[in-house]
Symmetry: D2
Subunit: 334 residues, 4 copies
């Protein structure tokens, strides 16, 4: 397969993934889970929404839970652009491509542009957010997993190539990917702007749906402690997968499901990926160590359940293959 | 249930579990696994046997692999007694009870007494072993899991009550146990002499068979690193269970199967259990968090596979119950 | 030097160091320091006393701070004996030796025997203490250094040989010691009953005075986190020494001074020391790595400041030598 | 003080600090120190030079030691630019400013441009380097501190304002700085391109001299292990400072001096610093916690010793103030 060269002079400058906006049915339950158990910081809370951030974050929020009685959904994935001028350039670029976009008002954010990306996912861009104190030296407030910052999101997409084309045109660079022998088909793409393995990942599946979002934790010990605290506080059943080590991205991971079923990853150990002369790492689809360097594969739930985007009907994936689920793995052993 | 009070003046003084003697078909393969991957120290190696110890151990060996072309077995579990006099007292006590015992010659050990315990397992006692350097400050030799010392063994036994009676008569104290509601039946017993949760554990099952033996590691990070190194060196398929957190004993654990199928646990985080006025912790058999505070249960293999003792035919357990295996757990979810 | 063989059948069975009783001028300040900053659990608090324990401890207290407006002192060091019968045997042994002893009432403890040991330090023995929940699985309550249990105390003594003779007669075993070339003089002795490097340490100095008491922490990360939390909460100036690695005992350590000036060590990484056939480790007095494997030595304050025992006038040490203080070390460099 | 706004459209795109070129008198000694003790990977070694990299680095080298019998110096600090075009733009920019620059041949690097920066330090830029395997998943090769990548360099400079002006014009952004009350004088500036606290730091002092260069380590445990391994292998005297926690940058650090006296920092725990709307953190020069959140300050050696650049005569600093050295701190206490 020949991957296209990276676009090093994109039409506007997206700097990083910034935030995720979800809905939840019970903000008290969400706050207990995200703040008391996992250790995120509550930046604000009103009757309609809960605003959370990681301990080192100076931006007001990286996770927003909006109260809604309906089936839980993701309303948008947010990215930062460098300047207000980049927002204008984004608008122009979208207009030129015939992609509808709207300026919206978003609390605690600067001017915000909403549109739909190449995977069908709702995206918003902003250049500014209210500044709040970084709490990375308020060590007395560290608890649970002591999550530091939102690092990436993963989206299940029905057409990986289309998502890939959209984001690489915007200067996202491929760090790792999965493909099948002797074909050009992309099955999963790890794309970044901020110089580590990923800001956004697209994996082949019924989509678009938000598979998970991920916060970094400082140490292996913090990741294990998050599991222990979850167990202590009655949330053991919310642990879905791990701890384990992803081959792709090299993350030591654990996945939780929040009270509304949204999936959050805590992880550790990424690497620097800044230089454009370093080729992306290819993982063959048959290599199960891409998802887990050790031991047992993920359950069917991890492979097949995800959060729908509000008002977006998911489509079946163009590429068809059965992942090696834990269920299949165990069935084959006996 | 009324548990008997601890015996605080036992007939002779067993101080701790000391060593495990296994057979293996390929000592090179054993050495690669235990030393290169997991990080045990090779104390000696000849054509017949491989002698291993943990990094902090001053006794010559805590694990012996004797070369044998036959199906891999455990030849004996070894305990230390405080003095040579205790060995004499042990002989007398066994004679008085009509339990056959033999003085044997064991390389690198002082005079050694071999007999069969209340579970049918072959046991040996010695008061001395050749002294070798503790390597706990040779930090440059730490690798893999950096295992420090043999901490305990677990034996699947067909009659837990009988095993319990045998060991408690010798001053072993119960720290934790599993039982079924409203009965006096013991299903699992955690027994100790050295002042932490366990020197030997008996769990209900086809037995006697050696379920596993366990080494301590210094930190969570070392346990995770052992998994990573195993994956790096091609031993991912030897990881059977974990990392996870046992409810009982509070150990953060990971289980590996060695090249002959013997099971070894690396773990962290025990607790001090010295005072006889502290009652043992009871776990109900229906409480799955006893085996895993978080997430998914163990596979069928972990529950049902174990190492036979040489020349000892295992018997079916007196008590019958199906453990919640990972296979059953997943089947029930869908 | 010829060290005497260990006494393996002592006159009564001391099992471990149990607790320390200090005075403090402001129990609120003590509670903030020990509980909010370092992470000890408050077992009880009334107007006269603060009772603290480590997270895994089932005994009611391992540290008692009694309110007193006077200069802060240590009132007693407590040890556990195995049974009430051992208490009776202890009384007889002391009487036989002409050592005064008294039965006292101590809240939350069983019958308690008070006497003065061979170093002149006030000691108390008890066989029982009120049982409280072990919180080792209440992971949500872990904070600061997450101290697990009281592990040892260190006493500055003017006559090390006399302290050594007293404790070894009671079955304490020497694990490590410092001595000068070609003499029999003991300068520091690490003595244990519970099977790890130390329950009580005597170091040459103006004494008897309590140099420090020490709690274990689970991980290196917890030790570092205790330092960070101390800094976050305004207690940086209470950090006296470390983090560093002791040669003797192999502990990764940090020392704090409490609001009354009492010194507490948090540490990690001891080793198992159960077998009487293993000889103690000798460190030469000129080997500075005994106190610190890495980097800089301790300050003068660490070497010369300590807590007096109530009503006990310290004496100058029989042996005279200047330790290598940080001050002297730096002065010699330039 | 009014800091200038960041330059968001620099004349050419420097992406990160890339490498450091030192001289050493004995490459065997350098290799033992950097590879055997600290854990860097040897990419190449010939009779003239030793090329080293961190475990996750895909670029051929981040540290070069060139053999020289003379007093050890730093020959250059290297930065990466995004593309070859950026190199051309850099040349033009330097020419326009009248700053001399030369194209040089550097082994394993693409075309390389050498010049002198605003602090008087020799700098080289390149857009490409030979690609070598990232070893971040060769966990069996992790040892010592398991350093992952070169993260930043610190330069003592006689005129901080001039260095600041030079680098901010090139798009370096200020994350943290030290200044004196009520003046505009910059005493220390933390400058970054790659989105974390620093690629290059300038601190007031006799300069230009290379104060240190720094590699990240995965965990607190790795940092402590580096110290332990150094002690095990006889390098304790090469530990100059720490472990400690910098207020500025929030790094848990330890500083070593290599066999030639060059200073290397291993550290952990940086934070993401991507958004231009977040103001830099100001630390007052009188606040000693900027250099150490806990405990004792650095020695005089740490403050005053540094590596000269080849052929560059250092000048005395324009701003004069005495740092609080450990020596002064201790002298004031007694």
């Amino acid at each position: 397969m020949t991957l296209p060269p990276p676009v090093l002079d994109p039409p506007f400058n997206i700097t990083r993934v910034s935030h995720v906006i979800l809905t939840g049915r019970d903000l008290d339950a969400s706050q207990r889970f995200y703040s008391d158990v996992l250790g995120l910081v509550v930046s604000d809370r009103d009757k309609d929404a809960l605003y959370l951030r990681g301990l080192e974050e100076a931006g007001h929020h990286s996770l927003v839970i909006r109260k809604s009685p309906d089936a839980p959904v993701c309303r948008a994935i947010g990215f930062r652009v460098l300047t207000e001028t980049d927002l204008e350039k984004a608008k122009e670029w979208l207009d030129r491509r015939g992609i509808a976009s709207q300026w919206i008002e978003a609390a605690y954010q600067g001017r915000t542009l909403r549109f739909t990306d190449g995977s069908g996912s709702p995206i918003e861009l902003c250049a500014r957010m209210d500044i709040v104190p970084r709490l990375m030296q308020s060590f007395d407030r560290f608890h649970g997993g002591s999550p530091q910052h939102l690092d990436h999101v993963q989206v299940a997409a029905s057409d990986i190539q289309r998502a890939f084309d959209f984001y690489t045109a915007l200067g996202f660079r491929l760090t790792e990917y999965t493909a099948r022998d002797n074909t050009d088909e992309l099955w999963g793409v790890w794309l970044q702007r901020k110089g580590n393995p990923h800001d956004i990942v697209f994996s082949n599946g019924r989509g678009p749906r938000l598979h998970h979002f991920a916060y970094t934790v400082p140490e292996v010990r913090d990741l294990i402690h998050a599991c222990d605290v979850a167990a202590s506080l009655g949330y053991a059943s919310r642990m879905e997968r791990g701890p384990g080590r992803h081959g792709i991205g090299n993350a030591l991971f654990v996945y939780f499901r929040d009270p509304d079923g949204h999936r959050i990853e805590l992880f550790n150990t990424h690497y620097q990926a800044i230089d454009p002369d370093v080729p992306p790492i290819r993982w063959d689809l048959t290599n199960t160590s891409r998802s887990q360097l050790w031991g047992l594969p993920a359950t069917r739930a991890w492979f097949f359940e995800a959060t729908e985007f509000e008002g977006v009907e998911p489509a079946e994936p163009l590429l068809k293959a059965d992942p090696v689920t834990l269920e299949a793995f165990l069935a084959n052993q006996f």
